[in-house]
């Protein structure tokens, strides 16, 4: 598997990128173009992520 990955890394990576984008777009369409669904709704203060 590693040998074939080494030989076809460019094809595999491009296929993965395209496949990922297709799944993301399909998921977005399936939600009825609802951007709010994928927005962050938590209460975590990201500015304090690396502070105590």
């Amino acid at each position: 598997m590693l040998v074939s990955l080494k030989e076809n890394w460019l094809k595999v990576s491009l296929i993965l990128i395209v496949l990922g984008l297709v799944i993301m777009v399909a998921s977005y369409w399936a939600s009825g173009d609802n951007t709010q669904l994928f927005e962050y709704h938590g209460v975590h203060d990201w500015f304090r992520t690396f502070y105590l």
Binding site: S13, L16, I17, G20, S27
Partner: protein, 197 residues
């Protein structure tokens, strides 16, 4: 005779013929053979087309002129040392600038594979973790969010793999390039033989 045997025989012949620039000559023939091997020629064909080690050694020992160096006078030597010491604020700063420029040049060209490696590691690790987290997100937040996360993880893995390939091949190329550039720079500081009347 293969490449290693040829280089060994050449080293022996050069030593016997008392050729002074042995290391450079060996490097030259090694690179010549490697270049032609990369072009697809076989070792036997390449070595057959070259002169024999003995012929090379004989030719190079004939080419070497007899060098007679005149000794520098003590006063001239003292004067040179004085000028070098007094001029050090000028040439020292220029030398430091040149060294820093070369170092920055090396750093800049190595920035490309370094950045690609960072993107590769983050893409592959982030994509891998995200791939498993997509299942949890799908269970907890609904399949739409899960599939969005899944798509994102696959795209991240793809970008990571692409950057890994880029880092590897650009790194390999730059190793060769850096070695040849360093050799070229060092060759500029090597003493060359000259005939002195």
């Amino acid at each position: 005779m293969n490449k290693i045997q040829f280089i060994k025989a050449l080293a022996t012949e050069l030593a016997q013929a008392q050729v002074r620039d042995t290391a450079n000559t060996l490097d030259y023939y090694e690179e010549l053979i490697d270049d032609r091997l990369e072009d697809g020629e076989s070792e036997l064909t390449i070595i057959a087309s070259l002169e024999s080690p003995r012929q090379i050694a004989a030719r190079l020992s004939d080419e070497r002129p007899i060098i007679r160096q005149r000794k520098t006078a003590p006063m001239t030597l003292a004067l040179i040392i004085m000028v070098v010491v007094l001029g050090s604020p000028l040439w020292g700063s220029l030398l430091l600038t040149a060294i820093l420029l070369i170092a920055v040049g090396y750093f800049l060209i190595w920035l490309v594979p370094a950045l690609a490696a960072i993107f590769a590691i983050s893409g592959i690790v982030g994509g891998g973790v995200s791939f498993f987290l997509a299942i949890i997100a799908g269970v907890r937040q609904g399949w739409l969010i899960g599939s969005m996360q899944f798509g994102l993880s696959i795209a991240m893995l793809g970008v990571g793999l692409l950057c890994a390939g880029l880092a590897w091949y650009s790194g390999c190329y730059l190793v060769k390039w850096s070695v040849s550039l360093t050799r070229w720079l060092l060759s500029k500081f090597k003493a060359r033989d000259k005939e002195v009347a």
